[in-house]
């Protein structure tokens, strides 16, 4: 018990270290990047004095060390300051975008994981049969197309040629009144982006789960489970899938932070107001406070996800021990 506690203690401490490293990396990387925030405000009528004025008003004329301390303080107190570009509190910017991104990515990730898993299990179950071939093929196809290709085609087809879904955004303009109408409207708007992400994403899950399952299904304990007269579903899910679960869970948690930054293209194509595009814009625009905060949050999410992956792993795999082998 003691060793376990120790392990988690060290694990949390080292996560903090990771955050610290990432924080400083973030800061210096941005300043390392050639260019400055006034670049995006270029206007021929600005005189050099006006430009200097601009830098000063952003506090960018101070020495780097001083800027660094300010930055660390901001990050640690979660008061991210004012965005250069929008002149609004960065918090506000993040807060208004986060729900959109989460509403897009969580269902998409979850659905593609669930769909992929279902298909993967079905393929493993129908080993050598048509189901397996179909799953393998569809999985491979799902994986093989560039995302904007698929998304644009979907948009053209289902929002333009056959206008079943809306073309853009996460809400009708003007938005409907009444809570339930809003919910329905939101769902209707998110359906196509989510569906496209699921289409693009389920393949890798299916292929992966199928491999794991095929292996597990060859083990002796599956034989016993069958001999126990358990329902085929129980054998498949309760035993085989349950045993294959640990790596699946790890992948799930690990893919969480990755998809956030990968959302840029989806957000652009479907005109969604989300974090992905915000990240890209603030980096390109040298919006230090905004980019810094966004990346800080992303790092936090990543670190937490990693930690969660480890925690959940120990839960789902009782065999695990972190002792050092000799």
């Amino acid at each position: 018990m003691n060793t376990l506690n120790n392990y988690w203690l060290r694990r949390v401490l080292s996560s903090l270290l990771v955050i610290a490293v990432v924080l400083s990396l973030n800061f210096f990387l941005f300043r390392l990047m050639p260019g400055d925030p006034t670049g995006s405000l270029l206007d021929p009528r600005f005189s050099p004095e006006a430009k200097q004025e601009l830098l000063k008003s952003y506090g960018l004329d101070k020495p780097l060390s001083q800027q660094f301390f300010m930055y660390v303080k901001q990050m640690l107190t979660f008061r991210f300051g004012i965005s250069f570009m929008s002149q609004r509190p960065v918090w506000q910017e993040l807060a208004e975008r986060l729900p959109n991104t989460l509403l897009l990515l969580f269902p998409a990730l979850l659905l593609s994981a669930v769909l992929g898993t279902l298909l993967g299990v079905a393929a493993a179950k129908g080993r050598g049969r048509l189901t397996e071939k179909a799953v393998l093929l569809s999985g491979a196809i799902s994986f093989s197309f560039p995302s904007f290709f698929v998304q644009l085609v979907l948009l053209l087809l289902l929002a333009h040629a056959f206008p079943i879904f809306p073309l853009r955004g996460s809400l009708s303009v003007p938005p409907p009144t009444g809570f339930w109408n809003l919910v329905v409207d939101r769902a209707w708007h998110m359906a196509l982006p989510i569906a496209s992400l699921v289409l693009l994403g389920f393949g890798s899950w299916a292929l992966y789960v199928r491999n794991l399952m095929v292996k597990v299904l060859g083990e002796d304990f599956i034989l016993l489970a069958r001999a126990k007269g358990l329902r085929e579903n129980e054998v498949l899910w309760g035993h085989a899938f349950r045993t294959a679960l640990p790596p699946i869970v790890t992948i799930f948690f690990l893919s969480l932070p990755g998809v956030i930054s990968g959302a840029v293209i989806t957000e652009t194509v479907f005109s969604l107001h989300g974090i992905g595009k915000f990240l890209l814009d603030s980096v390109l625009g040298h919006d230090y406070p905004a980019a810094g905060a966004a990346f800080y949050l992303m790092s936090l999410v990543t670190v937490i996800c990693n930690l969660l992956a480890d925690v959940v792993y120990t839960f789902v795999d009782p065999r695990i021990s972190f002792r050092r082998l000799r």
């Binding site: 270290l17 955050i19 002792r323």
Partner: protein, 392 residues
């Protein structure tokens, strides 16, 4: 089970093409007007014409549907400064004044049916297609000068049907077919190398972390955490700013930022595998760690790894497309990802220019499919459980 199946043959064929593509010569040069359709697309439009008017006029017949564009280029020299002079194009029933030459002794003519100024000069809306107006009829057309002084002209009339080659041309007038061929090499190189490096790294570090445990584990995994947690985007921007955007930089960047997932997955596999009795038996034998990892863990992890690799190659090819999307790839390097991206940016999707989209799009997809299929066969070779009907 034979190794030479359709997928392998396909990949071998592609690799051969990739080796041969340098023979194509420069692919980045314009060969025809932009956005030409493939030649085989519609048979109704006539043949392109290229005529030279040496004397006063030029006659030709146009017997098919209107061409895509036409242009008149060259010089007109008058023996004296004309008071009234114009270049005319006469159709079967109507004559169009293309340009007013009055007041110039030498005139460089450069007219294109796309020019807005020409449309306005003809009294048309700037949004009509001049060539479809002028060539709306079939019959004899003539190009001539009407002036009060004698003129010498050296004019070239070119009529383009907007068709070229097997896959048409892109926005710069490059031959899409040749670009597609050249793209194979880049896509294959990037895909294969980036994945190889990333999976080797991920595999090695994941194995060591998982198997050794303790300090090795935590330090490697913290490294992974840092890499996972640093936003890749600014790093990509910085790297491309500092080192440039060549092929190998892309490979490097892609591999450096994609091995962590593999490492973690391999590590968790290792963690559960290392408790297996037979591994314990091997340790009891005093087997070197390297041996255990190489002989048992790698084969155990291989299916997983090959699956990841099979998915990784397509992933890298697609990521390269993504990097092109962010402008972080060499514009002179015609990869498929880049072609797709350019097509998208220049409106090929809404413009219905599917001949620009499908060659690279289906190319990527077919390469990816082939890789996945080959990867699966490798998996089966490495692990009999995936191959045989071992299931009860």
């Amino acid at each position: 089970m034979s190794f030479w199946r359709l997928d392998t043959l396909f990949l071998a064929f592609l690799s051969l093409l990739a080796l041969l593509t340098p023979l194509l010569g420069p692919v980045n040069e314009a060969v025809a007007p932009p956005f030409c359709k493939p030649l085989w697309l519609d048979h109704e439009s006539g043949k392109p014409l290229s005529l030279n008017a040496k004397d006063n006029s030029l006659s030709f017949t146009w017997e098919s549907k209107p061409p895509k564009t036409f242009s008149v280029k060259g010089t007109v020299t008058f023996e004296d400064v004309p008071k009234s002079a114009s270049l005319l194009l006469a159709g079967p029933s109507k004559t169009y004044k293309l340009v007013d030459l009055a007041g110039y002794r030498n005139f460089d003519v450069d007219i294109d049916s796309r020019d807005v100024l020409l449309k306005l000069f003809l009294g048309l809306s700037p949004f009509v297609d001049v060539s479809s107006v002028i060539f709306s009829e079939r019959g004899t057309y003539s190009l001539f000068i009407a002036s009060d002084v004698k003129a010498h002209l050296d004019l070239n009339l070119n009529i383009y049907t907007g068709k070229w080659g097997i896959f048409g041309t892109d926005q710069r007038g490059r031959d899409v077919f040749r670009l597609t061929l050249a793209g194979i090499r880049i896509s294959l190189l990037v895909g294969i190398f980036a994945t190889l490096i990333a999976s080797t790294l991920g595999m090695g570090l994941g194995l060591f972390a998982g198997y050794l445990g303790g300090l090795a584990d935590s330090s490697i995994m913290r490294g992974v955490d840092v890499l996972l947690a640093i936003p890749t985007l600014p790093i990509l921007v910085v790297i491309s700013g500092v080192w440039g955007r060549g092929l190998w930089q892309i490979v490097f960047v892609l591999s450096i930022f994609s091995w962590m997932g593999t490492a973690r997955v391999v590590r968790s596999l290792t963690l559960s595998l290392r408790e297996a009795p037979y591994v314990e038996g091997l340790r009891a034998l005093g087997a070197p760690t390297g041996y255990i990892l190489a002989r048992h863990f790698i084969p155990e992890a291989m299916p997983l790894l090959l699956a990841q690799m099979a998915l990784g190659v397509p992933g890298a090819i697609l990521a390269e497309a993504g990097l092109s999307f962010l402008g972080l790839s060499d514009p002179l390097m015609p990869s498929w990802g880049r072609m797709l991206h350019e097509a998208q940016v220049f409106g090929a999707f809404t413009g219905g220019a599917w001949w620009l989209i499908f060659p690279p799009g289906l190319g990527i997809a077919s390469i990816c499919l082939a890789f996945i299929s080959v990867g699966r066969r490798f998996e089966e070779m490495a692990d009999p459980r995936l191959r045989e009907m071992a299931e009860r």
